[in-house]
Symmetry: C2
Subunit: 219 residues, 2 copies
DNA sequence: AAATATATTTAGACACCTCTAAATATATTT
DNA sequence: AAATATATTTAGAGGTGTCTAAATATATTT
């Protein structure tokens, strides 16, 4: 398998390559990796030897499909570990990164498969980023209205439809805000009202409310 | 902190130093580490520079208290991860080692403290070896008779007092053997009979039986 | 105690990954 | 389009951790 350093480079290239479809510059990579441009050039050559990236001098690097796959699997591991740390080991959002950064390099197919199962196949990490599946597919978590979600699901608030002052004040009063974790406990068939919990407090909301809050499902 | 290689050497020295109180030979270390004697000599010099071991040429190495402490903490981590893998992630005895070997090098005080708590402070790993505490103390797990243990505890069978053929046949018939995990569910005050479970099967045993089985408690 | 066998260390080299300083290519100004 | 600035690569070197082959020390035989 790949070395720790190689894996970190692959991951960094993946993150930087996201937006543009063109190569990642040596300088950008150097900054991301907190190293010198010359070191980057050296490493890129090695990655290129192994067909993990395609590289033309002075033109930047792109991940090959082999390289992209490796990067995505590391990201999958990183995000699953983050879920574990936050959900099971009482880590807070800001504490997880450093440790997940180490855990993501552990090599064991079985470990990660069992961890995924243990965590009940979460779809996103504690920061709301999607967790790639075993085949490397990254679901674009779709934004749904809260009233479309079934009971038992856990969601993250990502936006609102109604942006009137009235509604925003209502949300504020009830502790509903961007990034808040909303768990759906019950849905009343009769009037489609919902019993949800936010910050361990229960709250009943009408359909009028639930149909104006955008969320992404976490599981 | 120490490098991966350094940590592995410290651990190996610790394991080899156990029996005799004298230094560990270069060759023994080389075999344990699956490397060459010359590499060992090189590394020993570096460890000696860092005061992790005391070393006299041709006389072998001994861990300093600093080195011993580091080694014990790695072992603590290794064994806690083994418990996690077996108890929570459906790993079997023989599968855990390789993965724990990697996980033991993760650096995070909080991680290991929370993991310990999450696992409910286990006293031994799945192989029955004791888990050192945060201060580096390694409890010598005492061998007790099963009838001395309180309900709720999980134990490992480590021996028998009565060695008659009759008794051994009884044990065999009921799936009680060395290394088996025995969980104590109830203890009847009246006759001191016990309800235990082995391999997920329940079994009621009399005091006559429980007072002839040696166990070590796992928690 | 000398001869032989075994254990250990030293010397020199190599792979991986990093660095600084210098050289070269590309981009931007004028 | 020449001059300047910026980005990138090359050259040479260092640290870590490994190796082989040779030298040296310790242990065992005779």
């Amino acid at each position: 398998m790949y070395s720790l350093s190689e894996e970190n480079y692959l991951k960094a290239i993946f993150h930087l390559q996201k937006q543009p479809n063109q190569g990642v510059s040596t300088n950008a990579l150097a900054e991301q990796m907190e190293t010198k441009a010359s070191s980057v050039t050296d490493m890129i050559k090695r990655l290129s030897e192994k067909d993990l990236v395609s590289y033309k001098k002075y033109k930047g690097v792109k991940l090959s499909s082999k390289g992209r796959n490796a990067a995505v699997q590391i990201i999958r591991k990183h995000r699953l570990w983050e879920v574990f740390l936050v959900d099971q080991l009482n880590f807070s959002w800001d504490e997880v990164h450093e440790v997940a950064e180490q855990l993501e390099h552990i090599k064991s197919k079985k470990l990660i498969r069992e961890l995924d199962k243990f965590l009940d196949y979460p779809k996103m990490d504690p920061h709301g980023d999607p967790i790639p599946d075993e085949d490397g597919n990254i679901a674009v978590a779709e934004k749904l209205l809260l009233n479309e979600i079934n009971p038992g699901k856990t969601t993250v608030c990502v936006g609102v439809k109604d942006t009137s002052t009235h509604f925003l004040k209502y949300l504020d009063k009830n502790n509903i805000a961007l990034g808040k974790i909303i768990h759906i406990k019950e849905k009343e068939a009769f009037d489609e009202s919902m019993l949800i919990s936010i910050d361990h407090k229960e709250l009943r909301i009408s359909k009028m409310v639930s149909s104006n809050i955008y969320v992404k499902t976490k599981n």
